[in-house]
């Protein structure tokens, strides 16, 4: 019985120390309330902090015939009041969809009846009651496409053209790949790794660039890290599930499972790409000409090759399966274009690109592990190194088409 009471006592001790974990939290709450109660007088010791900048965040400028709609957010800690609205340095009458005073992170839409000039630049200014003017620019004024059935279909078509179609075309390389020598197959797998590395870096750069424009209150870099981390670890979890389900041996994914993973990685990247296309188009920042669409198509054909390479060894993969893979990788472009075209949200865009970066990175790791195990000469063979570099080079060169 002594041993029992000993165990009980040790359990009680363990419990007590677990409860101890609450003590720092309680102390923190106490300290914070004390500090708050002091009215910040402690800070006076180091001088007065400067007044807030009182700048608004102009989220979106939409143009309709005879009308400009400006979505404005208050990124500051203090309330901000919209006092004056200017268009091209002229004070204009306007209407608001709510109160002129915006609390932190609250938004309002400013509607300005205005006869804007097509294809000419336009600048809007929102002045706070404290006289601080925030300006937003439209590079070339064109009517913002509304949510019409035609527009919806148009974005879907564009998404299909630059996303699904090229990936499907790339998958048609599969029969040729099947007849390739093991060395060359390894080279194509490495090429997949190379192009995914390119996509990962591309998405990360995009995410970091977009977050830099976000108001500080939205925590840009943290948001990027959160997206990258969540998608990388999430995809790691998925790949582990694939591996234990028997798709791979010894924890290394291969074949269809790896191809699926590659497709998911590419799909997430294409979601971001679609978003970027849709947003730029909707906001008149991009002339979505024929050349650009061709550029994206050429750029994305390689993605199909990347998905085909892992399944090249496997026989008997039905056309249905392949079509599904093409959809997984390509269809997100359509969704991205829809989202970008109609609801543009900078936070969402940052998150999308961060998620894409994390996913692509994870798939690079999986592909690397696969190549390391299966390639005749391992990771350092000339075929693998050459293939990897070729993958990056192809993406770079075709990327110039859409730069």
């Amino acid at each position: 019985m002594e041993s029992g009471s000993l165990a009980e006592r040790s359990r009680a001790v363990t419990m007590r120390w677990r409860l101890w974990a609450l003590v720092p939290i309680l102390l923190l709450v106490g300290t914070v309330s004390l500090f708050a109660a002091s009215g910040g007088s402690l800070l006076d010791l180091v001088g007065r902090s400067p007044p807030p900048a009182d700048e608004f965040d102009i989220r979106r400028i939409e143009l309709e015939p005879g009308e400009i709609r400006i979505r404005v957010t208050n990124p500051q800690r203090e309330d901000l009041t919209i006092a004056t609205v200017t268009v091209d340095d002229a004070i204009v009458p306007y209407e608001l969809d709510g109160s002129a005073t915006l609390e932190r992170l609250r938004s309002a839409t400013v509607v300005v009846p205005y006869d804007w000039v097509e294809d000419e630049p336009l600048s809007v200014g929102i002045t706070s009651s404290t006289g601080i003017q925030t300006t937003g620019d439209v590079a070339a004024a064109v009517a913002t496409p509304g949510p019409t059935a035609e527009g919806f279909l148009g974005y879907a078509l564009i998404g299909f053209m630059v996303g699904v179609l090229p990936v499907a075309l790339g998958l048609l390389w599969l029969p040729s790949l099947r007849r390739a020598a093991p060395d060359w197959l390894a080279a194509f797998m490495a090429l997949t790794g190379g192009l995914l590395t390119f996509l990962a870096l591309d998405a990360l750069a995009e995410a970091l660039e977009l977050q830099a424009a976000l108001p500080g209150a939205l925590g840009g870099t943290g948001l990027v890290l959160l997206g990258v981390g969540a998608s990388y670890l999430g995809l790691t979890f998925v790949s582990q599930r694939f591996a234990t389900a028997g798709a791979g041996r010894g924890g290394v994914l291969g074949g269809l499972a790896l191809a699926t993973l590659v497709a998911i990685g590419i799909g997430l990247h294409n979601l971001g790409e679609g978003l970027a296309i849709g947003t730029s188009f909707a906001l008149g920042e991009l002339t979505l000409g024929t050349f650009l669409i061709i550029g994206f198509m050429v750029h994305n054909v390689t993605e199909g090759l990347g998905i085909a390479a892992p399944v090249a060894e496997r026989r008997g993969i039905g056309v249905g399966r392949l079509a599904l893979l093409a959809l997984v990788a390509g269809a997100p472009t359509i969704f991205g274009a829809w989202i970008g075209g109609y609801v543009t949200n900078d936070v969402l865009a940052v998150l999308f690109f961060a998620v894409a970066a994390g996913a692509a990175l994870q798939v690079v790791v999986e592909v690397g592990r696969y190549v390391a195990r299966r390639a005749p000469g391992g990771l350092t063979s000339g075929y693998v190194v050459g293939g990897f570099l070729a993958g990056i080079a192809i993406m770079y060169l075709t990327g110039l088409l859409v730069g």
Partner: protein, 333 residues
């Protein structure tokens, strides 16, 4: 300093002036809803005027109908009288002023307004201006005109809490101005320390309906460019409250430019011409409808309106006009 000059009732608010606006060059501002306009092409012959028209109560301008009376209507000219002393008292004050509807600006003022009060004397009056600095920075008053060096408001810096009395004979007759000359000069002027300074000739000018207009601007976000322009302070004030004048008597405007940052400013009258006397110190005049003034330049305008109705006046820099420097005369019989 009661207003002896006119029996004109300028104390009425203008209503029902919308039709005139259709003819105004800022009509685009007034009702720019293109869709409605398209609709009007189809259905009606008049555009929809439901949006804020740039005249009358709908105009986005701060202030009530009489808020600017003290700055708009100068104290009466006094006939020449040898040995007379004219005394004024100016206090520098840091005041938050509403420079455009809903926009406050931390101004530095003489007596609480930007521009400061109108100072008026007759030539050879002894002018005595007591200046107390109740602001937070050193200031002075620098008068334009003829006076001794130690009355020039350049070397005698008046620190916060201190006082200084400027005393000199008012010379020469004309439209002048005064402003702070403490450094940095640009800051002290654009913050609001300036005003009109009228010296009447010993031989009085013919009777007229007299107005003062000090052209100014406010850079509310400190980027070295004015966000708002106006005369006598708030943007669009005289569009919201048109200046009511009588056609039967000359309208005389004492005009000065104290706009900072911009090289020039201007005054343009619609529908009529006027005589412009540069600096107002001679009989020389120009007959025109537009005058251009650099900073510190000023003059006297005399209008004999040929017609009644609403006549716009504004800077002929369109940008200034659309940022607040625009108003109307309501000419009546």
């Amino acid at each position: 300093m009661s207003n002896s000059r006119t029996g004109v009732t300028r104390r009425q608010l203008l209503v029902g002036a919308a039709p005139v606006v259709a003819a105004a060059p800022f009509a685009g501002l007034a009702f720019a809803n293109g869709r409605e306009r398209e609709a009007s092409h189809r259905g009606h012959d008049r555009p929809h005027a439901g949006h804020a028209a740039m005249i009358g109560p709908e105009v986005p301008a701060p202030g009530g109908p009489h808020d600017l009376d003290a700055l708009t209507y100068p104290p009466a000219a006094l006939p020449y009288e040898p040995g007379r002393i004219r005394e004024y008292s100016l206090v520098a004050q840091d005041v938050d002023v509403e420079v455009a509807l809903g926009v406050t600006y931390p101004a530095w003022t003489y007596n609480g307004t930007a521009p400061g009060p109108v100072i008026r004397a007759t030539e050879d009056d002894l002018l005595r201006v007591r200046f107390a600095n109740g602001g937070s920075h050193p200031h002075t008053i620098h008068f334009h005109g003829i006076h001794p060096a130690n009355m020039d408001g350049v070397f005698e810096i008046v620190n916060p809490g201190e006082e200084f009395t400027y005393e000199f004979p008012a010379r020469p007759y004309g439209m002048h101005l005064y402003h702070c000359h403490a450094t940095p000069l640009k800051k002290h002027i654009h913050k609001g320390l300036y005003g009109a300074f009228i010296i009447d000739p010993r031989e009085p000018r013919p009777p007229a309906q007299e107005l003062v207009m000090v052209m100014n601007g406010f850079d509310t976000d400190g980027d070295g460019e004015n966000n708002f322009y106006a005369v006598n302070g708030p943007a669009f004030y005289y569009a919201k409250h048109p200046l009511r004048v009588s056609r039967s008597q000359t309208v005389r405007i004492y005009l000065a430019n104290l706009t900072e940052f911009d090289l020039i400013n201007s005054f343009h009258l619609h529908g009529d011409f006027f005589r412009y006397y540069p600096t107002g110190s001679t009989d020389h005049f120009e007959y025109t409808d537009t005058v251009m003034l650099c900073q510190g330049e000023r003059g006297v305008i005399e209008i004999d309106f040929a017609n009644t109705g609403l006549f716009m006046f504004h800077a002929h820099q369109s940008e200034f006009a659309e940022l607040g420097w625009m108003g109307f005369f309501d000419v009546q019989d």
